[in-house]
């Protein structure tokens, strides 16, 4: 998939710079090709762009030391968590140091009475839930990958539970952050709410390593539901499925998850996960609550689904049945890949107001039906967020260019409908071209002013989020 590349403007690394890192970090410093190769890519379709070196940090103080060192010498610094970004966030487009935080993987403090946990940035979401299981609490945000909490905060990640529990935006309580010049701050207290000044926490959430380096994350936890049930329902078309979801929410049903799969995604899932779901547009629900509560939710949803043409409503209360369904949903990506063996996938990520979702997906599907490659569509319907999985021949640049053009039209359509170019994956490199269309020049100027205020030497993950060449002048 070398059809796209990024204009590289590698900066010079001054003499002695790497030697100082080597001296400070010893075996936790590397310039080996394999290590740089591993840290110069992510799960995006971009080819790798290697950093000059990789440092494996173990403490916030080490991160601060590296930041001060890079800032002093004007060398780029890119924080690296699990490497699961999807839009080129981690590529060293200007060279510099990749700072691997995966070794900072300790749970720092659990406060079950306050429903918070503080973890080092390298802790992954699955590790977190395993380690806190005994508390009776859980952390709901579940992007596809087993991402690190630092990375999830940095990309404002979400997942299938967002309709009920929100995204990282709502669930990060506080961050420990190293600034561009190596100072260490806490963005907030652990109080559940505060009106004490500017919302530093939310400034760093979603900043993709461009404003500071997150080294600790305090997030909200929720009680493990007493009862969980799942339900599936087929619909004649997407529009009726979306209308069902709108009415479900209007009825006040606190649905925990509601996922859409198009008929091709269902077919792929049947083949991959050995299921026999009816191969038409499908909604997959999950309900959390008391035993009576989840039963009531399912009944209300069944009635609303029926009124909207839903068929074959089936619900699964047994953990093994639920688990089978949700594992199948989580494997929809891999199932999709099997539709075209040997393919490489490119994934889109727009989000629109739910009132426009059916229209946006339908127009998109009409275009995709004419494409020269297969695709599937899955979506977090309750949020208006959907992904197209485009299955491309890795040896055919024309297909990649075709998919890029389709993605561009999809993003423009979403923005026209009052939506956003990325619901949960982030900007990275791949969405920079849409930032002005989405936000307008003046709002982008404010973002650039913020970047310049927090990182005057432009060392933190440079060349991301704010389109290069964008006016970085202050607003005065």
């Amino acid at each position: 998939m070398s059809a796209i590349s990024v204009q590289s403007r590698r900066r010079n690394v001054p003499a002695g710079f790497l030697e100082a890192l080597s001296e400070r970090f010893g075996e936790r410093f590397s310039t080996a090709d394999a290590v740089r190769e591993h840290h110069g890519r992510d799960e995006s379709p971009y080819p790798a762009m290697l950093p000059d070196a990789v440092v494996f940090a173990q403490t916030t103080e080490e991160v601060a030391w590296v930041a001060a060192h890079c800032n002093r010498h004007g060398v780029p610094l890119i924080p690296y968590g699990a490497g699961s970004s999807l839009e080129g966030h981690l590529l060293a487009v200007q060279g510099g140091v990749s700072l691997d935080l995966s070794g900072m993987n300790r749970i720092v403090a659990v406060h079950p009475e306050d429903f918070t946990v503080t973890v080092q940035a390298g802790v992954t979401r699955k590790q977190l839930n395993e380690e806190i299981r005994d508390t009776g609490l859980f952390f709901p945000i579940d992007p596809g990958a087993d991402a690190s909490l630092g990375g999830m905060a940095a990309t404002r990640a979400s997942g299938t539970n967002a309709v009920r529990y929100g995204t990282m935006r709502e669930n990060v309580v506080s961050l420990k952050v190293v600034t561009a010049d190596g100072r260490i701050i806490e963005t907030s207290s652990r109080a559940r709410k505060s009106s004490a000044g500017y919302d530093l926490t939310r400034i760093f959430v979603g900043s993709e390593g461009t404003l500071g380096i997150i080294t600790k994350v305090t997030v909200r936890l929720y009680p493990q539901p007493e009862a969980i049930s799942a339900a599936i329902c087929n619909f004649p078309d997407l529009r009726s499925a979306v209308q069902c979801v709108i009415e479900v929410i209007q009825m006040g049903v606190p649905v925990a998850r509601v996922e859409f799969m198009d008929s091709i995604a269902v077919r792929a899932t049947n083949a991959y996960s050995k299921l026999d779901l009816k191969e038409s547009p499908l909604l997959l629900f999950e309900f959390h609550g008391s035993p009576a509560g989840v039963r009531e939710q399912a009944e209300v949803v069944q009635d609303i689904a029926r009124e909207n043409g839903g068929e074959d409503f089936a619900w699964a209360e047994r953990p093994e049945d639920r688990s089978k369904l949700w594992t199948a949903r989580h494997n929809a990506y891999f199932a999709g890949l099997q539709l075209r063996p040997g393919c490489r996938a490119s994934t889109t990520d727009v989000c629109v107001p739910i009132s426009r979702l059916a229209e946006c997906v339908t127009e998109t599907a009409e275009e995709l039906d004419k494409a020269s490659f297969p695709y599937t569509i899955v979506g977090h319907v309750g949020d208006g967020n959907f992904h197209v999985l485009m299955l491309l021949d890795p040896d055919n640049p024309a297909e990649f260019q075709e998919s890029e053009a389709l993605n561009r039209r999809l993003v423009e359509r979403a923005i026209r409908m009052g939506g956003t170019c990325t619901g949960e994956h982030g900007v990275g490199l791949h969405k920079m071209a849409f930032m002005e269309a989405e936000h307008g020049r003046d709002a982008l100027d404010l973002m650039a002013a913020l970047k310049q205020a927090f990182d005057p030497n432009d060392i933190l993950n440079p060349g991301k989020i704010i389109p290069s060449g964008h006016n970085l002048e202050l607003v005065a």
Copy 2:
């Protein structure tokens, strides 16, 4: 209550500046003493500090014109909504123009399928809920006053529903903002979630008019609950009441409101609202859901309350009974005032992690018991947020100074316990002295850098949030 005052550093208004405003706005421009007096104060205990003039804006474009005019001439500009701030937010400490937005009071667009509404900044929360009643949706954030939505966004307000529905931080979808130099931006699309760059929305929420002027607000709406019930329960002491709330949340009960009143607040409320509540520490609950759901919630809570020493659990399903209870709670402020006829109240606003709430309130009450004036305590227990209402003799400066000292110790205690100097009222003038203790010098430097990036000429509500004399240098 002239015991405190604020050091004034009035700026010069250049010749011709006011004349240009007068020419542009005609009758919607005023330098009359009564008008300036009205706009130079809020509900805080500070004496008024008058702006040089007041402009009544009706459109975003007018706001932009005034901002550009002020920015060009370095004249302070203070947005004014309902005037219900509590910490001196609106005082013209450096003179300048008060920009009254109360005439911008139109509902712009209701999107019931997307659960959003867009309003002009001057719309008040009660007006909003009246105008959208037919949609079956409601807006839950309820600070004590009938504040404007623009002001609520600017102070990151919350209220009694925050435990279930969050604060303005979670419920503002997007803002229209006029920048310091008079540009007009939208902070976000109406998509329910987005990872497209820096969170401009959350930057302006809570910025108290110091980073930009909010002229339109898009907020989330929620379905009006099918059923609502309320319950009250007395407890032997605060600690058992708080423990009850923690266990209720741990059980996953989606309680909509849970308010604490100390025994003096209950006594005052009985006298004021003609009730006969038992005069011991009390929790007041509200449950939202289906009829079966609210019954189940109340039953679970009753069991947990009993295990924690709760007595006389009583619940009210009839709207008139509920309404009577909640009206009494909302009138707790006025009820408190009647404990000392002719007094003036000063209110505190700390918020701590709930695990420290009982300790924080208990220590505070022990100190207050020795004070020379009466007080009551009410709290949003689920959030760890509580208010002390101190009833002061307006003719006795010593009492005021005593109350300020008690507030100072209370804030220091809350910060020591991992909390914040303000849960929902905001910084204004009154909490600036605690900003460094709460956030640390380096975090405050970042806030100052943000302020300078967004408002280089320091015209937007100057002298607020960031302590004056604070280093405004960039972080490089």
